[in-house]
């Protein structure tokens, strides 16, 4: 097969978004924009109690209301909708009832208790008001400590414990040498530092809440489900299993998705309830999650507390690491279980060469909404403790914080590097990234600005954090070992239409990360066609081939893109053979003629020619016509021109980068202003630098929110944040000056060298900002008033300022 040049033209350029015109005109089509004749609206009655027995539910008044079609309880649904399955079924994990609606017992505020289907949202909510539920409150497990205390109420009595699952590293594999002992390493250390860090429970708050619309086919049962999801195939599997409907009768469509960030990658009760009622009522049914319910119904994330211990030698090299951490999982595992908790431990070593580890994770159930997935998926929860503790250690060792990173980063010649938890880190040039930061004018300016401000008595600080990020998740063979129910491969179908234009059907799902555009670039380059001759389709199980995993774990560019390349190569190979047949030449002598754009000279259409001759090329359209006519094809070749490409990564791809923050603290209000963020990142080959930059910027601001303002506080199981008034996401007045730079260290494990970048922005931004805050509090504050929890709210800063001041005065 003669190689095609797959890296010219569009890939690597900042092609403008293909969605631009649609979105700015308001022509996006999100789930709530889908309307079907006779549709009814479904709403959910949710528990106001964190923990209670359901004594009785009286639905009679609600049922009698005009325009109400169904009012149904969990007990009534119990025999009709089976339990959910788990995308991530960690070994040893315990599961809850897994029903979409609670039957006898509620375990978190917001847990579904009954369902109403009515004429419209207004009437449906009227019916909710008319349902009377008698609860018998039970003792509340307000937090992990309460859940683990002796004699604590068991949330799931059949478990015998409130521990949902545990995980530990390193894995001890019989027959293999025992891993190095972290205890021994720490005992031999010159310096040990230990702190306990907390990452608050937070939530994605995509601007589009969740939504489901299900059509009813009278010739059924067959279902067409529109849902705002990252993973249509997982929804199909779940609905099929829980409703007992064969998958070939279920079609799931993700229309435009208004943000997801991982939160829409789990299967939700409403995705099963809506189709159930469409069938039961024999009419289309819709559900639009309301914002207030999203704070208790959509899965949140983070919610970890980690005690981290690092031991250093006299040169500041890490000898060993010990970590004990808990995950406040909520009332029961969601379909992704304690996946984020697992990822934290597996990826805790981050970009550092740490020889010995002892890590133990404990996921604990409490009376809160079950955790799901959110950008970073356990990595921010790992990065925050590690990067904070490194700064604390630097202070105690008397070493510059950047220098301490340098001494411990995996060296450039160390890749591929298998770390102490068994993760194979494919590629990187970590020290180089660090040097680039140090040389970056914006960084140098930030340090100078900090020094000048400090001399003038202002509380200004600079802090940094390094990160790597697991992307292109992951090899299908590995997944069963860690409890993931699916594979990690992806699929793309490419068809060259009879007129020679290109239709790509991807199994990834767009949600703002721009794959409509970047995949078009990739396809155009690989096939040698103009980008306007490429259409990309997504998000429909009727046309997108089964994909083993969600659009998540930053796998679209690397794995999705690679499957696109495989399909493109297959299509090109067939076309080349057809072209050779038409040109009466040997296929090995036939090569692709790439489309040339229309600037100046007449445009060249894509086609094939015989190398070294001046023979008239055959165009794509001619080849396609021959393929679809079918009569004049090479011996044994099937007609048509549509090929499936799949790609299963051999290994993960680790993106990486460094974030530095310049912050100023207001000594009166305690509020933090992030003045500047300097962000260096490497995600391997960049399909579209504009999109990459946008992902980094957007993620960084989410990280800033996690650092400074976002949390879902609870008081004895009662949520305190139920609206944007209380859940504080960053606003346009809070954006820092940004200085972005990048390098490209391709991964050898994908066909395009691309690693993921969707989650990069959010992983290290919190630690960088908090390190900067600590710096702003003054050099002594690391010892006297270390900041170990996010978000860092104003009163915490004031407390630290007071402590730091007092310490200064007394030393």
């Amino acid at each position: 097969m003669s190689p095609t040049n797959g890296t010219s033209g569009y890939v690597g350029t900042g092609v403008r978004s293909r969605n631009g015109v649609r979105f700015v005109r308001g022509a996006g089509r999100y789930t709530d924009d889908v309307h079907l004749p006779r549709e009814a609206t479904l709403v959910v009655l949710r528990s106001p109690h964190p923990h209670a027995l359901i004594v009785g539910i009286d639905t009679s008044a609600a049922k009698a209301m005009d325009g109400v079609y169904a009012v149904t309880t969990g007990a009534e649904l119990f025999d009709h909708i089976g339990p959910q399955r788990y995308l991530w079924d960690l070994p040893g994990q315990r599961t809850g009832p897994g029903r979409p609606v609670a039957r006898d017992r509620v375990r978190h505020v917001g847990e579904p208790v009954a369902v109403v289907v009515a004429r419209d949202q207004y009437v449906a909510e009227d019916a909710l008001d008319a349902i009377v539920v008698e609860y018998e409150p039970l003792p509340v497990l307000a937090d992990v400590d309460a859940a683990l205390a002796d004699g604590a109420t068991l949330l799931h009595p059949d478990w015998g414990t409130n521990v949902q699952v545990e995980a530990a590293w390193p894995a001890v594999i019989p027959g293999l040498p025992e891993p190095p002992s972290a205890d021994a390493a720490l005992n031999a250390a010159h310096l040990i530092v230990e702190e306990t860090f907390t990452s608050a429970r937070i939530t994605a708050t995509s601007m589009e809440t969740r939504g489901v619309v299900c059509d009813y086919d009278p010739s059924g049962p067959s279902l067409t489900i529109y849902t705002s999801t990252q993973s249509p195939h997982q929804v199909r599997e779940g609905v099929g299993a829980m409703l007992g409907i064969p998958e070939h009768r279920i079609r799931v469509i993700a229309p435009d998705v208004g943000g997801a960030f991982g939160m829409k990658a789990v299967l939700y009760p409403e995705e099963v309830l809506v189709p159930y009622f469409a069938l039961a009522l024999r009419r289309p049914v819709r559900f639009a999650e309301q914002r207030d319910e999203s704070f208790v119904a959509s899965t949140p994330s983070r919610a970890q507390r980690m005690t981290l211990t690092l031991g250093f030698d006299t040169d500041g090299r890490i000898l060993g690491l010990r970590s004990r951490y808990t995950i406040d999982l909520g009332s029961a595992p969601s379909t992704c279980g304690a996946g984020t908790g697992w990822a934290t431990g597996a990826l805790l070593c981050g970009p550092y060469a740490i020889p010995a580890v002892d890590i133990r994770a404990t996921a604990v159930v409490t009376n809160k909404t079950p955790l799901g997935a959110y950008r970073g998926f356990g990595q921010p929860e790992a990065n925050f403790p590690m990067e904070r503790l490194l700064d604390i250690a630097a202070s105690k060792l008397g070493v510059d914080p950047v220098e301490l990173r340098r001494r411990n980063l995996i060296p450039a010649d160390g890749f591929p590097y298998t770390n102490a938890t068994g993760m194979l880190i494919d590629s990187g040039a970590y020290q180089n990234m660090l040097e680039l930061l140090e040389q970056r004018p914006a960084y140098v300016d930030a340090l100078r600005e900090r020094d000048e401000a400090r001399a003038a008595g202002r509380h200004v600080g600079v802090g940094m954090a390094f990160y790597n990020e697991c992307t292109n998740f992951g090899p299908s063979g590995v997944f069963p070992l860690i409890g993931i129910a699916t594979g990690g491969w992806d699929a793309t179908t490419i068809a060259v239409e009879p007129d020679g234009t290109v239709r790509v059907t991807s199994s990834q799902t767009p949600m703002g990360q721009g794959i409509e555009t970047s995949f078009a670039q990739l396809a155009a380059d690989r096939l040698g066609v103009g980008i306007d001759d490429v259409t990309i389709r997504f998000g429909d199980t009727a046309s997108s081939h089964y994909t083993a995993y969600a659009s998540g774990a930053s796998r679209s560019a690397g794995i999705g893109g690679s499957s696109l390349i495989v399909a493109a190569e297959a299509v090109l190979e067939k076309m080349r053979r057809i072209a050779a047949h038409l040109l009466e030449a040997d296929p090995d002598d036939v090569e692709l003629v790439r489309a040339a754009p229309e600037n100046g000279s007449a445009p060249t259409p894509p086609g094939f020619t015989v190398r070294g001759t001046s023979a008239e090329p055959v165009t794509f359209a001619q080849v396609a016509a021959a393929a679809y006519q079918g009569g004049g094809l090479p011996e044994g070749m099937a007609p048509g021109l549509e090929e499936l490409g799949t790609f299963d990564p051999v290994s993960l791809g680790f993106s990486y980068g460094v974030v530095a923050a310049l912050v100023e603290l207001d000594a009166v209000t305690g509020q933090t202003t992030v003045r500047k963020l300097i962000f260096g990142h490497d995600c391997g080959t960049q399909l579209n630098p504009r999109i990459v930059e946008q992902q980094v910027i957007g993620g960084a601001l989410q990280g800033q929110g996690a650092a400074l303002t976002e949390e879902l506080p609870y008081a004895d199981g009662l949520p305190l944040a139920g609206a944007f008034a209380d859940y504080l996401v960053p606003l346009a007045t809070e954006i820092p000056e940004l200085d972005l730079f990048h390098t490209e260290t391709p991964t050898p494990f994908t066909l395009n060298g691309a690693k993921g970048v969707g989650e990069s922005g959010v992983i290290a931004a919190p630690a960088a900002i908090v390190n900067a805050i600590q710096d702003a509090l003054g050099p002594e504050s690391t010892t006297s008033a270390p900041i170990t929890a996010i978000p860092v709210l104003p009163e915490r800063i004031l407390q630290a300022l007071t402590t730091a001041r007092t310490t200064e005065e007394t030393t």
Binding site: D129, D292, T669, G670, Q671, A725, L728, P794, E795, L798
Partner: protein
């Protein structure tokens, strides 16, 4: 998040409105700009049988200069006040309104509505209180005016009777009055607003919102200030007095200690901007 059912009334005169309120009383909510009311209705926090809109009552949309100052009809939007005669006449209103919500909410939200809603952290009540404004109420039984200081009784509670309609607020604007408005908050939480100045009589007046159950005046502001040896000490003393008015509330991000701190900061900043009060500390 949709409202419960209600019947909708659109009187075209104040008399008609009062007749409806007399008829329905507690079961009727008055709709001005709706930025607070409709949000409450969407969350089903209240369930009135009737919603009475004042949008079609021309009298309530008027801003009039009066002998004493200015009279702002209940339906006048915050944006109109910012951009029109009222803002010209009472500049501190303009300053305060810049902090109220956002432009889209000020395009609909009214001065009267804010005054009647009685949010203890709202800005406009503090302005009305400081300037010695009055609230004009009308019912089927006639009209009465209530001084701002007697109008708010507690969080979201006023002295209005169920059959009364707020028709206007009146603000005296004596010659020589100078006022400054300052606010400190953490993302609209722990929100403390301070209005400081003199009505032209040289007597320092300080009012604040966000400290306690209603907007409040610092009763002894003038005395606190003048009893100090220097203006900067006076400022500190007044600020301390304002901070002492803080009582606990349900704001998760607004502990009393934090709000006291913000109260001091806002008060000091406001006082420093009152022309002539503390010349050596005045911001340039």
């Amino acid at each position: 998040m949709r409202p419960p059912p209600f019947d909708y009334l659109e009187p075209t005169t104040v008399a008609e409105a009062c007749a409806e309120l007399d008829r329905h009383r507690d079961r009727c909510a008055v709709l001005a700009g709706g930025q607070s009311l409709v949000a409450q209705l969407n969350a089903r926090l209240i369930r009135p049988d009737f919603v009475l809109s004042i949008a079609r009552i021309p009298e309530l949309a008027a801003v009039e200069a009066t002998d004493a100052g200015i009279r702002i009809g209940a339906a006048v939007t915050q944006r109109e006040v910012q951009r029109g005669l009222a803002g010209d006449t009472v500049p501190v209103l303009r300053e305060a309104l810049e902090r109220v919500g956002h432009v889209p909410t000020r395009n609909r939200g009214t001065v009267g509505g804010s005054i009647a809603f009685a949010d203890p952290t709202a800005e406009l009540p503090a302005v009305l209180l400081a300037l010695g404004g009055t609230v004009v109420l009308r019912s089927a039984g006639g009209e009465r005016t209530v001084p701002a200081g007697e109008f708010w009784l507690g969080p979201f509670r006023t002295g209005m009777r169920p059959d009364e309609l707020l028709v206007a607020v009146s603000i005296p604007v004596p010659a020589g009055g100078v006022w400054a408005f300052e606010q400190r908050h953490f993302r609209r939480h722990a929100k403390v607003s301070v209005v400081a100045g003199t009505a032209g009589d040289g007597i320092l007046t300080v009012a604040a919102a966000g400290l306690t159950d209603t907007a409040v005046l610092l009763p002894d502001a003038a005395a606190r200030f003048s009893s100090c040896a220097s203006p900067s000490e006076g400022i500190a003393a007044v600020a301390a007095g304002v901070a002492d008015l803080v009582t606990p509330n349900a704001d998760h991000y607004g502990s009393p200690a934090y709000r006291r701190r913000l109260a001091v900061a806002a008060t000091e900043a406001a006082l420093r901007r009152v022309p002539g009060l503390a010349p050596e500390t005045e911001a340039a």
